[in-house]
Symmetry: C2
Subunit: 353 residues, 2 copies
DNA sequence: ATTAGCACTCGAATACAAAGAGTGCTAACA
DNA sequence: TGTTAGCACTCTTTGTATTCGAGTGCTAAT
């Protein structure tokens, strides 16, 4: 049996229709709605073949056909064409990503937001994983006699601060010396390197007190580095699941919510995925509890380096063509936004693998 | 007609039962489950009276009785007794609020988390509204030739930073002078005062360039102040709604979600509420779309000053006694935690209204 | 004043028939 | 030989009684 032109055309029509209506598609409706040039009976025969080939399934005898995962995969690989975004959509995206951009994280949050609004799905965006980010400077600031604020700034201008308490004496000058010494030693190192603990700061003035305060400060310093390393995951469009027929059953809705509510797990899954535009359909996700959702992720770049991911998650029945087009557009725009924010001097230097 | 002892006892039993089961309570089940010492027929008569008095309603003729808002209000005002928390609950709360506490915000987030887990409702916690918080110092730090990081620290050690771009020349020393001068002028002022724009910084060295950079920096400074002022709202336990019978209908679940998903609106509602433990039941909420939920909020304090709110939201049928006890316990513990973090030197000084 | 008894009500569950959408097969047709 | 009309068959959905049960409200007896 051969996947000839006509079978493809019929399969495509079924996918289109099912994606839109979420109802099994029958031969009669198909022949009425789409101009296929053959009778329902012929379509039925072809459908039967397509089912034998594994592209369609049958909820029960007297129902229409539903595309299988294999069909979606074929569609995504072979039949899908890139859509142009409407001017309105383009404007909305540009508005969210370019207007009033002061902070990286805010822009990424906006990206998740606009993606969910356009696709009507649950969308997410992850901030860059800072592993290869280099430290620019470190500063300790006194708040009161036992609270210190630590601030770490990376080359790209990302800031992480942390207030913590210590149980030893210190004064303004000591913190200044500490800041200076540690900046001297850590500047240019990546965060991962800093976290190994191999870097040891020594002081010209070998006052006991200096070493003491440093010892006291190190745990918080490490924790702050860890926090800085940690990618932040923004999610948006949770509400959309209430409009998706697949989740009109409260139990299914719950399962879906549980899946993405374990944020750390979900983040891990995202980090593990390959770069570029990746589509995994149903059981293609090795994860048992993702076996009837599809996940689309893409990476955005800064200075040609892959830094963050964004995407959508939803039922396998989704508008793969529209969604991938939107994601493409957003990642492109994000990347150019980040060229703007993230230091324009292209410090094209050593990037260690 | 008089709300005698027996009526109260029956009403209380009905409330207890309904809160637990979410099913209308009949006279027969009531007499079986609770030791009221009277027959179902008597209970029926009393129920009828209670209905006339507005404490019970009747979904339909042949159903049991359901407590009205008025009944819940009576229960909350008169019949409710404070519950002791189980040791397990106390331990969980202590664990979340005391262990590994380095940051205020994290502790508040944990408070929302543990509150939702214990009550099985949607819980929230709001960071202090910083209106009366005073500024401790202001610091501008260079990142690269046109990106500056601004950091504002309050007396209580809260930090807000912001990276932004400016279009004028500056160097390290200029930013140092700027930081020093502005700190001199703003130190001790509340954030609201700072936001009025009445404070004008002048420079000893009247170099043109200094004034120029300050002009460039002010908009971001103001925005950062605003951000600092903005209370952060943490929510937790959204998933719980899937286990609440009232929201087993997908449309109701959606309505509820929409209510709390407009985070800014919700935040505003919370800020507007009075201090202390406040319970509003159903239509007692002036808000139309909150007419069938109950909202319980409480405030926690730092140094005797009311600073933040937390609470739960859910169907009017909720365990008011358990919940208020838990909230009481958490706010007490939060307050003492914040005595710990927020500078132990009691700087009992001028607090301007 | 309390309670047993009983008729009555109304929603929920059950059963069953009819309708409708769709398939699969067969035979006729171009 | 590929295509199509026709028809029996399947299975869900919808509608309609019918029954069941929990519960009320009233009355009369205690």
């Amino acid at each position: 049996m051969d996947l000839n032109e006509r079978k493809l055309k019929i399969l495509q029509a079924i996918i289109r229709d099912y994606v839109q209506t979420a109802e099994p598609v029958g031969s009669r409706t198909l022949s009425k709605k789409y101009d296929l040039g053959v009778s329902p009976a012929t379509i039925r025969n072809e459908m039967s073949d397509l089912e034998d080939m594994g592209f369609l399934t049958h909820p029960h005898t007297s129902a229409g056909r539903v595309p299988s995962e294999k069909a979606y995969r074929l569609y995504v690989n072979e039949m899908m064409t890139k859509r142009d975004l409407s001017q309105d959509q383009k404007d909305r995206i540009a508005h969210e990503l370019y207007d009033n951009v002061t902070e990286l994280n805010q822009t990424i949050e906006h990206a998740a937001n606009v993606l969910s609004e356009i696709t009507n799905l649950m969308a997410f965006a992850m901030t860059p994983n800072e592993e290869h980010e280099t430290i620019k400077f470190i500063q300790f600031l006194p708040v009161d006699e036992n609270t210190i604020v630590l601030m770490i700034v990376s080359e790209d201008g990302k800031v992480q601060n942390n207030a913590f308490r210590v149980n030893c004496d210190y004064d303004d000058d000591m913190l200044k010396i500490l800041s200076k010494s540690m900046t001297y030693d850590y500047k240019g190192k990546t965060i991962s390197e800093a976290l190994t603990g191999d870097i040891i700061t020594t002081f010209n003035t070998d006052i006991e007190a200096m070493q003491n305060i440093q010892r006291n400060v190190m745990p918080s310093f490490m924790r702050t580095l860890e926090k800085m390393l940690d990618a932040h995951l923004y999610m948006d469009g949770l509400m959309n699941i209430f409009n998706i027929p697949e989740y009109s059953d409260i139990d299914r809705a719950k399962m879906f919510m549980e899946l993405i509510n374990k944020k750390d797990d979900f983040k891990k899954k995202l980090i593990e995925r390959d770069d570029g535009l990746i589509i995994t359909i149903g059981t293609e996700n090795q994860d048992e509890d993702m076996k009837d959702v599809s996940l689309i992720t893409a990476t955005y770049k800064v200075d040609g380096r892959t830094v963050g991911k964004l995407g959508v998650i939803g039922p396998t029945r989704m508008r793969y063509d529209n969604i991938t087009s939107v994601i493409d557009y957003i990642t492109d725009n994000l990347s150019s936004t980040f060229k703007m924010i993230g230091g324009d001097g292209p410090d094209d230097g050593d990037e260690d693998g």
